[in-house]
């Protein structure tokens, strides 16, 4: 199993409410190359549905999601 996904860039979005997580990630994804992974860490509960929606619309892929007690981590692969 290829369980270990390495992030090429990590964005700390803790404490930021809507719409900041997706606004920041939509900018930050341009800092990595196509095929690389961006890890976004958020505390906004809305981001659980927002990040997948953003990925589907922007054409990128969430390859892994980790949900902690109050923290969410999304591994986003840049496709476009």
């Amino acid at each position: 199993m290829n369980d270990e996904i390495k992030a090429d860039k990590i964005m700390d979005l803790k404490g930021l409410p809507c719409p900041m997580p997706i606004v920041k990630v939509s900018k930050g994804i341009n800092d990595i190359e196509v095929g690389q992974i961006l890890q976004a860490i958020s505390t906004d509960p809305g981001s659980v549905s927002d990040f997948p929606a953003w990925a589907r619309t922007s054409g990128n892929e969430i390859v892994k999601t980790e949900e902690g007690d109050a923290e969410f981590s999304f591994y986003i692969k840049r496709i476009v």
Partner: protein
């Protein structure tokens, strides 16, 4: 069926497809901001900035009660008539002076909401506007509302690419947008 006939039909279909392509709406949101309420303005800017994050273009039209929100309170212009001066004084100057549509309670509710927003790290309206500017959200201000309320272009905010227009400009954008909202 003859081969030549099929070729002709394919050509016709190609022409139709390209005509449809031109008609298809762009990946864009057009918003009318009619309300001058703090809460509705905040929602408008969250949707606009979120749209850009989703890869869309976003266009906002400020009209009627939304118009005074695009004023810059530090700018003062002269040469207004009596009505213009009255409107100028009575209407809010910029987003800082907007109030909640509900639970304003003589300004107490609005002040409480603002301090709560700060506590919860929610961006204030001026912050949202400057972020919208950075993201390239297009802002149009209704010329007719400005004329009615006696506002001059010189007293509006310094927003990148701010333009003044009429209803036709909005409709042109709305027809070419996948999403249209009225706030």
């Amino acid at each position: 069926m003859e081969l030549g006939n099929i070729e002709k039909q394919i050509e016709e279909l190609k022409a139709q497809v390209s005509a449809l392509d031109k008609k298809a709406p762009e990946n864009k949101i057009s918003m009318i901001v009619f309300s001058g309420d703090l809460d509705k303005a905040l929602a408008s800017f969250i949707i606009a900035t979120g749209s850009v994050a989703m890869g869309m273009d976003a266009v906002m039209f400020f009209t009627f009660w939304g118009t005074p929100m695009m004023r810059d309170k530090t700018k003062h212009v002269g040469g207004k008539d009596l009505m213009g001066n009255m409107f100028g004084t009575m209407l809010p100057s910029g987003v800082d002076q907007t109030k909640l549509s509900k639970m304003n309670m003589g300004g107490m509710g609005t002040a409480m909401m603002k301090s709560l927003m700060k506590k919860k790290n929610i961006a204030s309206l001026p912050e949202m506007i400057s972020m919208a500017g950075e993201l390239g959200v297009k802002i149009y201000v209704c010329e007719m509302s400005m004329d009615l309320m006696g506002f001059k272009r010189d007293e509006m905010i310094d927003y990148p690419g701010i333009e003044f227009c009429g209803v036709a400009k909005f409709l042109e954008e709305a027809v070419n947008s996948k999403v249209q909202l009225f706030m």
